[in-house]
């Protein structure tokens, strides 16, 4: 990772009329990093990505890529590749010609062109499919063509817009590891836009979570998974039980669970994953209103004074039935402290 500020986004704001899609976002990406832009739909991640590609004008701010200010460089001269969610293959061109498209525009010599295209097609495992048309390929194969087409021109930066969202679950896992391998082999800097936290956690060197046009939190996958700082990120990372810290207890949407909170005044809220809720004993009382068996674990929905809580118990733990009154504990030691609800 030679250049720590290979891609630098400086105070980027993008607005349409009155609505602000991206609000003063700054971030830097070191060369060779795979950064995931994570967030729910409408959080501005796709808008930001399209602006980096040059498909949308910035309202304010600047972009530097490989030491070159590309803020006003048109999209076709940015050296930025983009793999579209829909793949956007050229319907009238064969696999070979789709991949060769960018090289032909760059007037690559015939022998070099053939060599590079063949290599790119081989890299995504589609050797033998060169003369097929996109409509004759499966979704996963189209995805591979789109990848090969983008990387064959050796862009400075490769953007991927929800690239796996149109694939079925099994293929998605397969492509995930494929992408990982590609990133490792090519060393290209990548920004991966997704709403799927599992994908982001599995693939990224670093994750930036976006919310309402702003960066909510950024850090390594472990940082985000273990130490979310806000309720928004915590919920995204699977902390399903979030309770506010009050002077005399923990507050949920319905009411309070009374416990001493003297040592917790630095946190605004506490968050637990379902498996960290202890069932069977503890200071609080609740009632089981839902139980769903999931093989290794069972998930329970508990009605408490603070509202609904989600708990998970392993197969070895005693089983509870719906309607049963139950004691439970929310151990502070296993909670994450949030600075924002």
């Amino acid at each position: 990772m030679s250049d720590p500020e290979f891609l630098a986004l400086r105070n980027i704001t993008i607005s349409y009329g009155r609505s602000v899609a991206v609000d003063d976002v700054s971030l830097t990406v070191p060369q060779g990093e795979l950064l995931a832009l994570l967030g729910p739909s409408g959080c501005g991640k796709t808008t930001l990505m399209r602006a980096v590609a040059g498909l949308l004008p910035l309202t304010q701010g600047g972009i530097v890529l490989a030491k070159r200010d590309i803020t006003r460089v048109p999209a076709n001269r940015r050296d930025v590749g983009l793999v579209f969610q829909s793949y956007a293959l050229f319907p009238h061109l064969s696999v070979f010609e789709n991949v060769a498209f960018g090289l032909r525009l760059r007037r690559a010599p015939a022998t070099e062109l053939k060599q590079r295209v063949d290599a790119a097609i081989a890299m995504v495992g589609l050797t033998g499919f060169e003369s097929r048309l996109p409509r004759e390929l499966s979704g996963g194969q189209q995805q591979r063509v789109a990848l090969a087409r983008s990387v064959v021109v050796r862009p400075n930066l490769l953007l991927l817009d929800e690239p796996l969202s149109n694939l079925d679950a099994r293929l998605r896992l397969e492509m995930r590891s494929e992408l990982h391998r590609l990133h490792r082999d090519l060393g290209v800097t990548m920004i991966y836009v997704t709403h799927d936290q599992a994908e982001a956690l599995a693939l990224a060197d670093r994750i930036v979570v976006m919310r309402a046009g702003k960066v909510a939190q950024s850090g390594s996958p472990e940082d985000l998974y273990e130490r979310p700082t806000s309720g928004f990120v915590a919920r995204f990372m699977g902390f399903e039980n979030i309770l506010g810290v009050q002077p005399d207890g923990l507050s949920g949407e319905k009411g309070m669970l009374k416990i001493p909170t003297a040592g917790l005044t630095d946190a605004r809220a506490l968050a637990w994953r379902p498996q960290n809720v202890q069932l069977g004993e503890g200071p609080f009382q609740g009632r089981v209103i839902g139980a769903s068996y999931q093989g290794e674990t069972t998930e329970y929905l508990i009605e408490s004074a603070a509202g609904l809580l989600k708990a998970q118990a392993s197969v070895t733990a005693p089983r509870h039935t719906v309607g049963e009154n139950i004691a439970f504990d929310l151990p502070v030691s296993r909670a994450v402290r949030l600075l924002e609800v």
């Binding site: 076709n76 983009l82 956007a88 319907p91 960018g102």
Partner: protein, 258 residues
């Protein structure tokens, strides 16, 4: 019972629509000098003879040139307009669409008269130029509509992909958009050609002495020609249209665009 009645009405409707063509086709086969059906005797002389009538030959060629020229011009104007409306946020886009498709709403004879009085005469335009103006305006809405339909089948991000691979806007249009709407453009050309070739009312006022389109000439000839030549010509024209449409349907799926 109901079903049988339904199918007989359908059959009668088709007979009503297509039967007359069989009759003129047959009348054109007559060996005699008068237009009658059933034909008197059998000969191909009227079919062969059509090509000998200089007046029809001239106006046929003129109609061909006019139809090809004005359809090409309409596409040259209509394709960029359709593309702009499909892909760009054009200010006042609905207004533009209304203006460009307005010729559909104005009866052609009125357009012809207005063009003659307020454009052709004041500017002293030659007859052919006048005809091209009128026909292009009439064909343009079809060109816009058909091309719009085929543009909706092409995702805009395909163009973005081309641009990100290094193509300019124009380059992306010619390398990616045009090859993919080719069938639509060809369908528009065929529909425009047929519309222009068969068009009468707009040409009524615009044709001049010695320069006339084929359908106008045929209309004029009906008043004094009583031999089977017009029947033969009508049949040939019908066959021409039908074969163009059938070939186009095979190759392009023309009916998707009608």
């Amino acid at each position: 019972m109901i079903r049988i009645a339904g199918f007989s009405v359908l059959g009668l409707a088709l007979l009503f629509l297509l039967g007359p063509f069989l009759i003129i086709a047959g009348a054109g086969l007559s060996a005699g000098d008068i237009l009658v059906f059933p034909p008197q005797g059998f000969s191909l002389r009227w079919y062969a003879g059509v090509f000998e009538i200089e007046r029809f030959r001239e106006s046929f060629l003129l109609s061909m040139e006019l139809a090809v020229g004005s359809t090409a011009l309409a596409l040259l104007l209509g394709v960029p307009a359709a593309y702009a409306m499909a892909r760009y946020e054009v200010p006042g886009g609905e207004w533009i669409r209304t203006i460009v498709t307005a010729p559909v709403i104005v009866p052609a004879i009125i357009a012809g008269l207005a063009l003659l009085r307020y454009t052709v005469i004041p500017l002293g335009l030659p007859v052919m130029a006048a005809l091209v103006l009128g026909h292009t305006a009439l064909v343009a809405p079809y060109a816009v509509r058909v091309v719009t339909v085929s543009l909706t089948h092409l995702r805009p991000d395909v163009e973005e992909a081309a641009i990100l691979l290094g193509a300019s806007r124009t380059g992306a249009f010619f390398r990616v958009v045009l090859p993919n709407i080719r069938n639509g453009v060809m369908a528009a050309f065929i529909l425009g050609f047929i519309t222009s070739f068969n068009q009468v009312p707009v040409s009524l006022f615009l044709t001049g002495p010695g320069v006339s389109t084929l359908p106008i000439d045929m209309l004029a000839a009906m008043e004094f020609v009583y031999d089977p030549s017009i029947a033969a010509l009508s049949t040939l024209l019908a066959l021409m249209s039908v074969s163009i449409v059938l070939v186009a349907e095979r190759l392009l799926g023309l009916s998707r665009y009608v």
